[in-house]
């Protein structure tokens, strides 16, 4: 009699009813019961799920861990991401030394100094959006009126993508990050957006402006250091990552603050230093990158008492790491005055989010500005009617009906 091995439990994104801001309880329970365990993925493959903060930092910094999604056992997120793997090959899925060489093309564009220098322009964009909201009057969907246009406008200006094309790129981007998209739909959306961005970079060779894609065009495409395809892939990564994430932090963060009136008042009425601290806590508490960091071990690695063998897949779930009681006291409480700087919302290791300091500046300006403009801001529907983005690569809300 041979025994059929029992498949490990499926990795889930389903949260507990009434707890839309906490990771799935079955995942956080593992922090105590089995910090590193086997899980089944959407396609029947298995991976190690690494839940604890310390183990994730150790692994994500380990050069024997690969982010290359072309490896046979790479734990892909969905059929859509599997299908578009070759279309969107950029530094996020490269290993050293290729990764750092590629990433360094952009690190100068995202320094803290540069991001802080954008403050006046970001403030202006925020003011314009809030003016329009005020003029139209309540109710409104905060996602379409504020949360999404703000980071979209900012990343468009930074890259040199015409914002007038926002409906086109937001539509394609939404298909790309939806884990329910068919392979065909995801591939079509990726190709369409990639072709658009490739042509855009190419057009900047002859007509460069003061933007990132122009620097890519004149510094890399024109002298032949990068192909048009490479430039398109990198532009695609920056555009999608640059607006999906921050947009969801703004909308989901506002929703969370509306459930925590004392915390909301503190964010609204504090000085910039306290607001900056609050943003770190919001990043920790919400951890919208709920699919985790996906990697493959290239050697046998022992971590947290568990042997991960060469070739095995692993997922570092930042959302559970950010609820790890070893690191964060009372982790289920949103406390904007706690010291949360060691959170893993942006990941860790050499792949840690390139745009994190842009996100910080946008969030530090957006939350207080919105709350000061509309002191009476409230949800226009009960919390249980808010459509949360359980099935998207980036968690958040599909819409957020608000009034004031």
């Amino acid at each position: 009699m041979t025994q059929t091995p029992v498949a490990p439990p499926a990795l889930t994104t389903q949260r507990a009813s009434g707890c839309p801001f906490d990771p799935p309880p079955s995942k956080t329970a593992l922090l105590e019961s089995e910090p590193i365990s086997r899980v089944s993925l959407w396609n029947g493959a298995t991976a190690w799920l690494v839940t604890r903060h310390a183990d994730q930092v150790t692994l994500l910094r380990d050069p024997r861990i690969s982010a290359d999604n072309r490896r046979p056992n790479y734990p892909s997120m969905s059929a859509a991401s599997e299908a578009t793997r070759d279309q969107i090959r950029a530094f996020i899925n490269m290993d050293e030394p290729e990764h750092n060489a590629e990433r360094r093309k952009f690190t100068g564009d995202f320094t803290i100094k540069r991001m802080r220098a954008l403050t006046p322009r970001i403030e202006q964009i925020i003011t314009d959006l809030l003016d329009a909201m005020e003029e139209a009057g309540p109710p409104t969907d905060l996602v379409t009126s504020f949360a999404l246009p703000l980071p979209s406008l900012v990343i468009c200006e930074l890259l040199g993508v015409p914002y007038s094309d926002h409906a086109f790129f937001q539509r394609n981007s939404a298909v790309m990050v939806d884990t329910r998209s068919t392979s065909e739909a995801a591939l079509a959306a990726t190709k369409e957006l990639g072709a658009y961005l490739g042509d855009l970079v190419e057009s900047k060779v002859a007509n460069p402006a003061d933007d990132l894609l122009s620097r890519l065009a004149t510094g890399y495409l024109k002298p032949g250091h990068s192909t048009k395809r490479q430039c398109a892939n990198e532009a695609l990564l920056l555009l999608v990552a640059g607006h999906e994430t921050t947009a969801n932090m703004i909308a989901l963060g506002t929703c969370a603050l509306l459930q925590n009136p004392a915390q909301l008042a503190a964010v609204r009425d504090s000085d910039p230093a306290r607001v900056a601290n609050a943003v770190e806590e919001m990043l920790r508490y919400l951890t919208i990158t709920h699919m985790g960091r996906r990697r493959v071990a290239t050697a046998d690695i022992e971590v947290g008492g568990q042997l991960i063998k060469a070739g095995e897949a692993l997922i570092c779930s930042g959302d559970t790491a950010n609820r790890d009681p070893e690191v964060f006291q009372d982790p289920y409480t949103l406390d904007i005055d706690r010291q949360a700087r060691q959170h893993l919302a942006f990941g860790s290791g050499p792949h840690q989010c390139l745009g994190q300091n842009l996100a910080r500046v946008e969030l530090q300006l957006a939350y207080p500005a919105l709350l000061r403009r509309f002191p009476g801001l409230r949800l226009d529907v009960p919390l249980e009617e808010i459509p949360f983005r359980t099935e998207m690569a980036v968690y958040g809300v599909h819409s957020l009906p608000v009034a004031w």
Partner: protein, 63 residues
């Protein structure tokens, strides 16, 4: 305290600058870490230790 950094491996996240801005900066052209003070005064030590701890690429060494 003596700070050494492996600038080759720096990924330009800027975490050290956020934590200890009096001790660390970034090069304008590529965001790579610049040490402003390799032997910082005692009142900076705790921040420098935190910076080393949160550096995603673990390129800050203290001795």
């Amino acid at each position: 305290m003596q700070i050494t950094v492996d600038a080759e491996k720096c990924c330009g996240a800027g975490q050290c600058v956020l934590v200890a801005p009096e001790v660390f900066d970034q090069r304008d052209e590529d965001g790579v870490v610049v040490v402003l003070d390799a032997t910082p005064p005692a009142d900076q030590h705790a921040l420098v230790e935190e910076a080393a701890q949160v550096c995603p690429a673990a390129v800050i060494t203290l001795s």
